[in-house]
Amino acid sequence: MGDPADLTIAEAGRQLRDGGLTAAGLLDAVRRRASMTEAQLHAFLTIDAEGAAAAAERADAALARGEDLGPLHGIPVALKDNMVTRGVETTAGSRILAGWVPPYDATVVERLARGGAVIVGKTNMDEFAMGSSTENSAYGPTRNPWDPGRVPGGSSGGSASSVAVGSALGALGSDTGGSIRQPAALTGIVGMKPTYGLVSRYGLIAFASSLDQIGPFARTVEDAVGIFEVIAGHDPSDATSYRGPVPDARAGLAEGPEGLRVGVLRELSGEGNDPDVLEAFERTVDALAGAGATVTPMSLPSCADALNAYYLIAPAECSANLARFDGVRYGPRIGGDTVEQMMGATRRDGFGPEVTRRILVGTYALSAGYYDAFYGQAQKVRTLVVEDFRRAYADVDVLVCPTSPTTAFRVGERADDPLQMYLSDVATVPVNLSGDPGISVPVGVDRDGLPIGFQVIAPALGEAALVRAAAAVERLAAFDARPALATSEGAA
């Protein structure tokens, strides 16, 4: 394939530096890919043609001067629409923020700009990142480039879709309960949730503050590491930001799996997974063992309760985080006779059903008389999850399990069944509760040709071990399938 839109970030970086490619040319390539696929995929909410062209021009000028801004210099990157961009509409997939143009940039946006990245646009998402299919966007669903009849996963489905199809070489998503890893699995790309606190949340429109973490989408583990290096690091504007040095994730790329202690997370690696998913997972685990890793089954009983705890803690935090959308200062306003009526009408009109459901659940879970039984109990489970993981890491370096129990499901299939939809997150939620890092790597396809994700998780700040295992999985699986829409024939 000669289309620059299909290059990895690493390869594009080499060509940009040796003069075989310009940032402007690379931008043209991904824009062409977008123009061929957007009508079917709807990965983007806003395409910032002007801003991207200017950024590409600056990137080329800097390269011409001999300046090298790092792994994303000149690389087209897409941004989930819950990260605020100065001067570019930001809606978080919600009608309640329709037309809102932020007066400031998120810290990750500043870091991308400093790193010479070319931000191509804002990607579609489940409203306020609540969902696992990107069907909950107020602006219509995003579809999966492997099969437009299917969902790309969520909530960062737009970012995942854009990278899978080649309308960006990398993207940022946010992961509160699996919103990076699950769509990465369903679209056949790499998605990484770093340790909580390594990437600043300043300018990320909050869903659940104690769980939200920004991370990269890319087509290779190495490319994900490159994005991670640009966006990670202490930010004085985020009080929960980690103050110590960023772990050397890149160091894990070169090391092989020999001697790596791998724990198979028993509760999440058996029943409940599709047979094809399980088969691909087990094949990969065997390959790791064959390559010299030590494989041990590990039991983490609290993981069985993690999903329930998650669906109390996340709604509780969101019920407060989303209180600010009231029509007083920004966003659309529906009038009323009193301020209270105006706020109520604005919120009823502005929020979709899933967001409304979670606000109600969260409000209830925090109410006097129910707090201890719901929010308080969920926090105790969270503590148990943290302790279970800590115990496990005494014996193993990383834990593994399938990222998602199923491959991409059909658009509409789970839309009316919230509980079935919530089960999509069963394997990804535990590390959001523990704050630990996780990554999904594509390892095969199912009988329908849909990609299957393999999840590696590691202790907090264990990004080097995480990447070491993920890179080994990537090499062993040698996944090279491409989605139908990523070729000009498929896009026709």
Binding site: P103, A239, A323, A368
Partner: protein, 482 residues
Amino acid sequence: MSAWEAVIGVETHVELGTASKMFCGCPADTTAEPNTNVCPVCLGLPGALPVPNERAIEMTVAVGLALGCRIAADSEFSRKNYFYADLPKNYQISQFDLPLCLEGSLDVEVGEQTVAVGITRVHLEEDTGKSTHLGETGRIHEADAALIDFNRCGVPLMEVVTEPDMRTPEQARAYADELRAIVLALGVSDARLEEGSLRFDANVSVRPAGAEGLGVKVEVKNMNSLRSLQRALAHEIERQTALAEAGEPIAQETRHWDEAAGVTKPGRSKEQSSDYRYFPEPDLVPLHVGDEQRDRIAASLPELPAARRARYRGMGLDAGTARLVAEGDGLDEVFEEAAAAGADPQAAATWLTGEVVAHLRRTDARLGATPLDGAALAALLAMIDGGEVSATAAKAVLAGVLDGEGSPREVAEARDLMQIGDAGALEAAVDEALAAHPDEAGRLRDGDMKLIGFFVGRVMQATGGKADPRMVSDLIRGKATG
């Protein structure tokens, strides 16, 4: 009438005098042009995050220590959830079950009596914006439009909550006064009630005198001075006592003090049982105040008002003067300097709380803005003692010093107020006076000593008040008997 007693607890909000707001870098200046000291954080824009103001935390710990509180090594911020247009996030970052300071006590002097007021807690939170309702009446429900100024939003607010340990409006006022003095002594707030940087709410109930349980509690708000705190409580206690005596129920409610009408009125009844759904603020990490930090703050505490008053009393001041000097704006500093320069403490204090304060009031000036310092005051007192200026002339000299005319001696000389202490010059003036009033002089020589006063007056008049009246009197006595 003494069959009922009141039980009073006071909640005080103190706007801290930090340079920046509680959770962002905006200037904590509420007087600027509306909505100029704002940013994504204090406007609650999507994506913005709070970062706590270390200085505000230290100030709160300092107040906690001054109130004898235990400083929690581990505390946390919580979200207090309620919808209000001037609260941009629709939750307030406050502290709930884990405040910074707890379990303190403050001794309050009321007349001869000392009351120990328990301090339940001292915690830190953020202030809200300020709404202005436009319309003819200025009432919310009749307003045509509402304007919101977010300059105040996010200004650090410290809340001090007492136990229900006060029994009279006087005690509550004395508590409020003492707390204000402490806040001023620590320099953590300008503590101006009329500008809202110090706000008092009181919880008050009545019960049969000597009873153990508590009656139905009413929260009284909107008292903008110490005097209105006392008046509002007196009124509210009278109201509740009348209801209790008539056997009528007292409603648990919030009432607002109407200063002009001199009564409390029920608040809007929107405040049903409010459930604030507090939970730990996930955007902030738990607060930790280590022993070392706490001890450092404790070591840097200035002398507290009670200790200062006790020391001044030890220097010979009476209780009332000691309080006036200790709490007057800048009086303490000048007083201490003057005493250190050798002035008699009681004399220095009398001049400061009398003539100096009166002059400042007349000229609407602050002591710190005048050139009067302790050395100048001591010099003036020494001139009075040494007979160089009369007490009357000294008042004029002091006014000159305060108005910037120079040192006491320079002013006295420039204004020609130095006392005539030269016996020769005075004797001439006495002779002149005797000569001018021959009849009286004759009667004086005949032994009518009452006339000494008459001639002293003549001489003082003739010398423009500069003569030393004692010397004049002695001279006249000498002439009469000589």
